[in-house]
């Protein structure tokens, strides 16, 4: 089950890399976060960790529903460009994505040797980190860059829940508040941009 969810997590991120429409991108980000939340629920259930179940529920509520909704509202309010063509051509992205995956899978091999449980998940979350970086690189517009940043945060969260068998609750709450702060800051930035225009 965990393998299945982690596969869907990576798959939704890869599909997001090839998306050319903003709302579709938000949908894939929401799917990505939903898979992360379900993963946290499943792992938390197997570890009997109530804190992790709580973070899973919060991930689904905040990241899978809240943030895409806020970003969609923002994009309607500030008339974002909704056609977001990646600046890296698809032909190159098709070669780049497997190259990144192979590279990171081999890169994380020493780490996976040290770990006993969930060894593969570390490799997949590091590759998700790189793919999110690629998502940030390949777009010029602000909105997809934000999505890239948020997916990177998702990847780190995945690393947190799979590699450590559960971080302290306080740290995770802190991350959530950081994220909300980031959204507020982004909102302010848009306001400022609008004033200048």
């Amino acid at each position: 089950m965990v393998d299945f969810l982690i596969g869907l997590f990576l798959a939704s991120l890869i599909v997001a890399l090839f998306t050319t429409r903003l709302y579709r991108l938000l949908l894939w980000y929401s799917m990505n976060s939903l898979m992360l939340g379900l993963l946290a629920l499943v792992i938390g259930d197997s570890l009997d960790d109530n804190a992790m179940i709580l973070t899973g529920v919060m991930t689904i509520l905040i990241k899978a529903i809240g943030i895409p909704y806020i970003l969609k509202n923002l994009s309607q309010k500030f008339h974002f460009v909704r056609q977001i063509t990646p600046k890296i051509k698809v032909q190159y992205a098709i070669m780049l994505v497997p190259a990144i995956l192979v590279f990171t899978f081999y890169l994380s091999e020493p780490i996976t040797h040290m770990m006993h449980t969930h060894a593969n998940y570390v490799a997949i979350s590091i590759s998700a980190l790189f793919l999110a970086l690629l998502l940030m690189i390949e777009h010029r517009n602000v909105a997809p860059k934000i999505i890239g940043f948020l997916s990177m945060e998702n990847a780190l969260f995945l690393l947190g829940i799979t590699a450590t068998n559960g971080m302290p609750m306080l740290v995770e709450l802190g991350i959530f508040f950081d994220l909300l702060m980031a959204i507020v800051v982004i909102n302010l930035l848009f306001h400022k941009e609008e004033l200048q225009v």
Binding site: D3, G7, L10, V102, N120
Partner: protein, 306 residues
């Protein structure tokens, strides 16, 4: 042996029904009054009674090609994984044979398009060549990675192995190859993001453009071939990517299999309603995604073993 024959007959009989089912689902979702579920059979019998007219420019190819389009697909039907326990199956036929037979059928379809010497036919053939050339690498990679997980190169044996002990530890790479195969199912059968089977608009035609000049019995054969191609892909998907329900008793196993086929058809119909058709030169992007997922499935299997 009797079960084997029943399976093949069932697949052939179900094939037109499944395509009509997709159409009915789409019409219901678009709030239109749906056609009958048996429209596929009605069309077939209507076309069988019609007079066959062939263009004056057409050569002998037009007389042979419809049969040569249908026959490789009929051969593929014999190589599919078994549906019920105790059924006879061909274990030694691998992915290359099936891909090769399907592309043989596509080759004759393209010849048929070129043969009528109309501008439309040639255009449709060139588009079909373009798409099927891109489908092939992803198809081979996908079926290979599934065969690796199943531990056998033969497609029939792979289906049996998967349903006997499902590779739970390889769930991630299994999922990736499933996504890749679903994209291929849509691309090879000319469903909406790649080709629209319902219109005769120049921009959207791929499959329809090639068979525009056919009438009567030849058109009936080609349409049967299209529906059989869909059921081949659907039953490969059902056997390789939804390997459950094999261990039940024979009638229940058949019912589960038919249910799986209709489930796949529903998924295709939902996708068709929800997406717009891609521009022709955007299709490599979609198929590139299929190649990425197929490759990802292989490297996840090799490097991570997940």
């Amino acid at each position: 042996m009797i079960l084997y024959c029943i399976t093949i007959t069932l697949l052939i009989l179900l094939a037109p029904l499944l395509l009509s089912y997709i159409k009915v689902t789409k019409m219901l979702l678009l709030f239109k009054r749906p056609i009958s579920l048996f429209q596929g059979y009605r069309n077939f019998s209507k076309l069988m009674h019609k007079e066959t007219i062939i263009s004056k420019e057409a050569s002998a190819i037009t007389h042979y090609a419809p049969f040569l389009v249908l026959s490789p697909l009929l051969i593929v039907l014999f190589f599919l994984p078994p549906v019920v326990q105790g059924s006879y199956y061909v274990s030694f036929v691998d992915a290359f044979t099936i891909t090769g037979l399907i592309s043989l059928s596509t080759f004759f379809l393209m010849l048929l398009g070129l043969d009528s010497a109309s501008a439309f036919g040639g255009m449709g053939s060139s588009r079909e060549a373009f798409i099927s050339a891109l489908v092939e690498p992803a198809m081979v990679l996908t079926i290979f990675s599934v065969s690796l997980m199943a531990g056998n190169l033969g497609v029939g044996q792979a289906g049996v192995n998967l349903s006997e002990h499902f590779p739970k530890e390889h769930m991630a790479s299994f999922l990736f190859s499933g996504i890749s195969f679903f994209i291929l199912l849509i691309a090879e059968n000319g469903r909406i993001p790649v080709d629209n089977p319902e219109t005769h608009l120049e921009l959207t035609m791929v499959h329809e453009a090639m068979i525009l000049d056919l009438t009567g019995i030849y058109l009936a054969i080609i349409e049967t071939a299209a529906s059989i191609k869909f059921i081949i892909f659907a039953s490969l998907f059902a056997a390789l990517f939804m390997p459950f329900g094999f261990e039940f008793s024979i009638p229940i196993a058949f019912l589960i299999f038919i249910f799986k086929l209709f489930f796949i058809a529903t998924m295709v119909a939902l996708l068709e309603v929800n997406t717009a058709k891609l521009r022709l030169f955007k299709i490599p992007n979609l198929l590139g995604l299929a190649i990425v997922f197929a490759f990802l499935s292989l490297i996840t299997f090799y490097v991570l073993g997940a």
